[in-house]
């Protein structure tokens, strides 16, 4: 008897797990059915890819809030995962580009450059790229741009007051010994954003002055973060007074819940947030619709609402929050190609500095 009971309980577990499989499966099937019916009834021209599911690898904080609008307007469903571009590139290399993902959304442009060279990206010159400055996008159309991400610092007001620190106004200010141990920045070899600050300031200040600056700031930094988002988080938690960071809608979001303020310094390094279609995508046509939508005036406005950034499309006004503190003229003159090609030598030299 007792044996039977135990067997039954074991069976129950198995059945339960298989029921779950079944549940998951049925759902998918039902969805597909609905979709099929939908295409027949509705105007085919408007939503030619209704029901297609696009897989998106996202490295663009807050972007998911815009997916619903896209699906509503185009009928294309989105499945997405948030993954750093470095990790995605590793994954791509491991599977030799045979990814099931269709779209790469945001993140570090250097990974896109790499992926393009490895042949993982699909060439697509969206007609909407006409509204985007050439320096933001790949000249051959392997990747486009969604937004411009300006970089500055985030300060913890309470800590600044408590420690009696001055609010820095220039990058040079950060080398002042009063900030010793209170500055956090990400490791540029890990964070594409931090590398952009690095490379940008080197280009802007000139090699010699630039390196002198980085050497000086290293003396004030005890801790190098392991991701681009970490300095903002740690400053908001009050772990550090000042963090070097990208300033996006998320940064302003932090300011709503923590005593922090984003600040732009005398010059503003930036990087574009790119977008690309994977060469292995099985839904390239739908993917093109996706790219077109997201770089169009309309899509860009919705994406801006999801996460306030300076959009790549010049027809879209910068968000009010940012516009209030950012003087667009301060954006540095930045050569992205040079940034990409100098990466190895720059990081090697940097490793020497922090190694000391």
């Amino acid at each position: 008897m007792n044996k039977t009971k135990k067997l039954i309980s074991l069976l129950l577990i198995i059945v339960l797990s298989f029921t779950l499989v079944a549940c998951g499966d049925t759902k998918v099937v039902e969805e597909e059915k609905e979709v099929v019916e939908g295409t027949n009834e509705e105007v085919v021209k408007e939503k030619p890819y209704e029901g297609t599911v696009l897989e998106v690898s996202v490295a663009y904080g807050g972007a998911d809030a815009s997916f619903e609008a896209f699906t509503e307007e185009t009928g294309i469903e989105i499945e997405w995962v948030s993954m750093s571009t470095g990790a995605k590139l590793s994954q791509l290399q491991a599977e030799e580009g045979k990814t099931t993902t269709d779209i790469w959304f945001g993140g570090g442009v250097d990974s896109y450059i790499n992926a393009r060279e490895l042949g993982y990206l699909h060439q697509y010159n969206s007609p909407e790229y006409a509204n985007i400055d050439d320096k933001y996008i790949d000249s051959e159309g392997y990747y486009g741009a969604l937004a411009i991400v300006p970089h500055g610092i985030i300060i913890n007001n309470d800590l600044i007051e408590e420690l009696g620190l001055d609010i820095p106004e220039t990058w040079e200010d950060l080398t002042d010994p009063q900030y010793k141990g209170e500055i956090i920045m990400a490791d540029p070899s890990i964070s594409g954003g931090q590398y952009a600050i690095h490379s940008g300031l080197l280009q802007h200040m000139g090699e010699e002055a630039g390196w002198a600056f980085w050497e000086a700031i290293d003396k004030n930094v005890d801790y190098y973060g392991q991701s681009g988002g970490e300095p903002g988080q740690k400053v908001a938690e009050g772990e550090f007074a000042i963090g070097l960071t990208a300033i996006t809608g998320g940064t302003f979001g932090l300011a709503e819940t923590a005593p922090v303020t984003p600040v732009f310094l005398d010059s503003v390094p930036w990087i574009p947030a790119p977008i690309a279609i994977f060469e292995n995508s099985q839904n390239k046509d739908a993917a093109k619709v996706f790219v077109d939508w997201y770089v169009s005036d309309h899509g860009q406005t919705i994406l801006k609402d999801a996460d306030a950034r300076i959009m790549a499309n010049r027809n879209v006004e910068p968000p009010a929050d940012l516009a209030a503190i950012l003087d667009m003229d301060k954006l540095i003159d930045f050569d992205l190609v040079k940034m990409g090609s100098d990466r190895e030598s720059t990081l090697a030299r940097w490793a020497e500095i922090i190694g000391e």
Binding site: S17, V21, G24, I78, V81, S90, E95, T100, T101, E239
Partner: protein, 546 residues
Amino acid sequence: MNRNISYSSLLEKAIIILLIIAFLLFILYPIAGLFVRSLTEGGQWSLFYYKDLFKEENIELIRNSVFVASLSSICATILALCIGLYAHFKGGRIRDLIYRGLMISMISPPFISSIGLLTLFGRRGLISYGLLGLTLNPYGWHGIVLLQSLGGIPLSAMFMMAGLNQIDSRLILASRDLGANPWQTLKNVILPSLIPTILSVLFLRFTMNISDFTTPVIIGGRFNVLATEAYLRVYAQANLNGAAAMTVLLLPPALVAFYFYNNNLQKTNTLSDRSKVLDVETLNYKLPRLVNFISGTITLVFFIIMVVQYGNIFIQAISRNVSGKLVFTTDHLHFFQDRHLDALLRTIHMALIAALLSTLFGVMLSYYNRMRRIPGMKSIEFIGSLPYIIPGIFFGLAYIVVFHNGPIKMTGTLIILIVNCTFRHVSVGNKAANATFENIDKKLEWASYDLGASKLQSLVTLIFPMLRPTFLTSFINAFTACMTTVGPLMLLVSPKNLIISVLMFSEVSNGRYGQAAVMGLSLILITFTVNLIAMALMTREKRITR
């Protein structure tokens, strides 16, 4: 009759062959594939990624790794020993309570603990700064040691309790009878008898710690270790081959530690005759006062930290921090319900299947190796322990490398997650079954054959029922592990097969603690429920066999 038996033995041969193929295909092949990849550069065989392996910075990294892993392993072992001693000799309900507490604290994924502890003990932590006015700098090797030690305690303490339980309590009586006081008895009998357990805990911790990259990433600061460096090569620099090469450096210390762990685990089970073990309740042995005080305090502090940590997760899940004030909200819950419920169901589904399969494979492997001594199974068992030893992220990568095309194309599916989890945790069930088989008389099986049962029938009707408690415990452990694993799955997920633990890691890294906390809570609740059910089954089992 004869035909029946030969059919059955044929079936068994098929099962054995399938078992071997499964282990070769899903463990050895991917790992080999990854290393072969790391030995190529631009399509050519090359030692490119290995030539710089022994440069000074890496030697430094090895030194750091070994230093931190040793220190945190020693700390965790000592603390776990204290908790184990305290719980064991308190006995009764306190012991059960501590055991259950340890089980629950095992559920929480390590990076969630890190964040909890940072909010409590960070430079501006609620306790360190808010309460005590201290500005602690947790970043650095001491932070890693603290977190790894704390994280290692639950499982280690449970090992210690099991080890203590195995000591023939008459030895303790004999020692006192021969004039040794409690302290001398502890020093001369209890601790020496526990040495195999202590060593295996120590080596297991070392293996785990040296390949742990999440803790050093979160709290290491400028202090780098090998595992983190390897992880960053994958995650940030997309230097897959270089990272694989770096794991080669991680392997020797891990293998050595694992070898000792394995050796000692076996000794634990052969030490003494268990037939005449007295209940602690009737043993009338109390720990020496000082030891009792110290270990009691450690136990209390550990559980306070756990309570605060779990409380923190709970509060994070139902509140929002607005300008330094907590405001309660159900937003996170609603958001979770809308967005991630599918992923949660998928995760449960994956973990249930993987835990079942992994337990089954582990037990079968143990059976064919330990009971039947089928040649070659010993090597298969070693292969089975590999995924446990190598850093998780590489086991994930290895799967991508070999299963992204060809006849077994699995990338982007839920199956790849299930298979990966199954084999990653297969040694859990394997080890547990090994321990049980040590105590099962092999003649029982002969008796069964003698009574006319085929080998397969004996396995199903005799061995499996005897192993039921083992099945349940390893199922719980494997399930918990599958629900909370991130490392190997991090790169295996695609938009269509997202699972909660990976989602949670990405929410944490994006700073959305509220969402992460809800996910953490859901994981904890589900794992806890499954544990409770399994434990209920187990206690019923005990009652019946008594």
